[in-house]
């Protein structure tokens, strides 16, 4: 195991984050504040409670998840796409490192950055609403597992993408709608029963539900199923990455 290489990639990527601090951290925080102002304060005054939780507090886990998913994907996809775009990817292929080490470095850094932003958003939200976290350990577990899984997905997107449009395609066309329809701003139980069934095919429902459970102890789906769903997603991403490097797909002629 070439830990030195993992650390080098990790440091290099984190450097990139701190170099672009404003766009990396300030912009997601700003957009979260806007969500709080619009959804929490303006609309929330008319909704009162959902599942017995004040609406402003109810949307906190959903907002964190929304940003966490977007950030994990974009950080990881950008991180691995840039060397391909600039051409420095040759160095990763010629270095004495394995797939595992490349993935650990890039995905680890992408997940770390996403987690940092999630924590900042969590702290920001305490300025707007009052809430307590029922299961803090599980909350951290959900955060870490989700950021890792989606950073892996981002890594795959970054390898797959041949241009900047493709890099944005899946996050914009697939992930954002899934999050909005995944119960970030409402409880799935509020939907008509037909749409509730449809929602169960949206993997993000399980993430947000499980994450919200760690805050308030209430969930749309049992928490065990949420964990199982993340585990399946994580395994699928790992399998895809293993296949990519084994076959050299879009990496190695």
């Amino acid at each position: 195991m070439n830990w030195q290489a993992v650390l080098s990639i990790y440091r290099f990527e984190m450097n990139r984050t701190f170099r672009t601090l404003a766009q990396s951290i300030v912009s997601p925080v700003l957009s979260t504040v806007l969500y709080f102002v619009v959804f929490g304060t303006a609309i929330g005054q008319r909704i009162d409670t959902v599942d017995g939780i004040p609406y402003g507090a109810f949307i906190v886990p959903g907002l964190i998840m929304l940003t966490l998913l977007q950030q994990s994907i974009s950080n990881a996809s950008f991180g691995i796409y840039m060397p391909k775009f600039i051409g420095t990817f040759y160095e990763l292929l010629s270095a004495p490192i394995s797939v595992l080490e490349i993935v650990l470095g890039y995905v680890g850094a992408a997940a770390t950055k996403a987690l940092m932003i999630a924590v900042i958003i969590l702290i920001t939200s305490t300025f707007f609403v009052d809430f307590t976290i029922a299961h803090p350990v599980w909350m951290v577990a959900f955060l870490v597992l989700t950021s890792l899984s989606f950073a892996l997905l981002g890594f795959i997107i970054g390898i797959w993408a041949k241009n900047f449009e493709q890099l944005q395609l899946i996050p914009l066309l697939v992930v954002t709608p899934l999050v909005f329809l995944g119960g970030a701003f409402y409880s799935v139980s509020m939907l008509p029963s037909g749409w509730q069934t449809v929602s169960l095919f949206n993997p993000v429902v399980y993430l947000i539900s499980g994450f919200r459970w760690s805050f308030f102890g209430v969930a749309d789906v049992p928490v065990g199923i949420s964990l199982f769903a993340i585990a399946i997603f994580l395994s699928a991403c790992l399998a895809a990455i293993w296949w990519i490097f084994r076959t050299g797909w879009r990496i190695k002629p």
Binding site: N2, Q4, A5, L7, S8, I9, R11, F12, N15, R16, R19, M82, P83, I86, G87, T88, Y90, E91, L92, L93, S94, A95, P96, I97, S98, G248, K252, P253
Partner: protein, 311 residues
């Protein structure tokens, strides 16, 4: 000397069917400078990219320092530094961080002393805190070399190191390569500048259409294939070569003012005395007389032509 890199029956067919390498076998000796010479698209870059792990071989084997590049890729790659043809460099990172990253990627512990020596040798030390995008083209190329040297490789691949580089920088690059060789680093460079191969290499490999046409010591190559030409400048133009000179396979220039005689400079009898006697006998007046050693360029073109005709 023993082989540090051993390439056996290497073949590479790209997706789409293009055969870039058609069974290349090559032994590279430790400590030598080997120049791979060939026209564009000959397979030079594919060959070194395969050895360095950028391209998967279709068949055949490569070992570096006795380590197979597939089975034992870590040990093999750890020995190699690669300077690619294109300038590919992280634009926003500083020079020192870029080089430090490369060293780490190759699993070497941080050693700022070594990096300082490398950067100083490449006249980059003053620029260590500059961002790569602020550097000139020549400096960027040197950053690529610094990256390749950051992990103390025993073999250095330079893919077209002086393409698009000005004369001064080219000289500097050559000096650097000689210095590295003196330090015991084996160097493989690809080039289509014959002058470069002639100037630098211990051995020269000629590659064309995915085949290695020949690998030979430079001096031997020039000796074996080197021909000399004797050019006779005439006082009066000729329409045809006089019959009296028919035995000498002379070539008459279009303006009829020059006769060229090709001979082997190392042969016991060059035929020159006899020719000059015959010229005097035919009553031709000479204005001037020059000889010219055929360069590696002529040798190279001959080889490539021969290789293509043989196919």
């Amino acid at each position: 000397m023993s082989a540090i890199i051993s390439v056996r029956d290497l073949e590479k067919t790209y997706e789409g069917g293009f055969e870039a390498l058609k069974g290349v076998s090559l032994e590279i000796e430790e400590g030598e400078i080997l120049a791979l010479l060939g026209p564009n698209g000959a397979g030079k870059t594919t060959l070194i990219s395969t050895i360095c792990g950028l391209v998967s071989p279709s068949s055949g084997t490569v070992s570096v320092g006795g380590h197979d590049i597939v089975q034992d890729f870590r040990a093999a790659r750890a020995m190699i530094g690669l300077v690619p043809q294109e300038i590919t460099i992280e634009p926003f990172e500083t020079v020192l961080n870029t080089v430090r990253f490369s060293r780490g990627l190759f699993g070497k512990p941080r050693d700022d002393g070594h990096l300082e020596r490398v950067l100083r040798a490449l006249s980059l030390w003053e620029k260590r805190d500059s961002r790569n995008q602020q550097l000139s083209g020549g400096m960027k190329r040197r950053v690529l070399i610094a990256k390749a040297l950051s992990h103390e490789p025993r073999v250095l691949f330079l893919d077209e190191p002086t393409a698009g580089v000005d004369v001064t920088l080219r000289r500097e690059m050559w000096d650097l390569v000689r210095q590295l060789r003196a330090d015991g680093v084996t160097i493989i460079l690809t080039t289509h500048y014959i002058e470069e191969a002639e100037e630098m290499a211990d051995r020269i490999g000629v590659i064309d259409h995915g085949r290695l046409l020949l690998v030979e010591e430079k001096a031997k190559l020039l000796h074996q294939l080197g021909r000399k030409e004797l050019v006779l400048e005439l006082g009066e133009p000729l329409d045809t070569v006089p019959n009296a000179l028919g035995d000498f396979a002379l070539q008459l220039s279009d303006d009829g003012l020059r006769l060229t005689y090709e001979f082997d400079a190392h042969a016991e009898r060059t035929g020159m005395t006899r020719l000059l006697g015959a010229v005097a006998g035919a009553g031709l007046s000479l204005k001037d007389l020059t000889t010219r050693q055929s360069s590696l360029e002529d040798v190279f073109l001959k080889l490539v032509d021969k290789g293509r005709n043989a196919q």
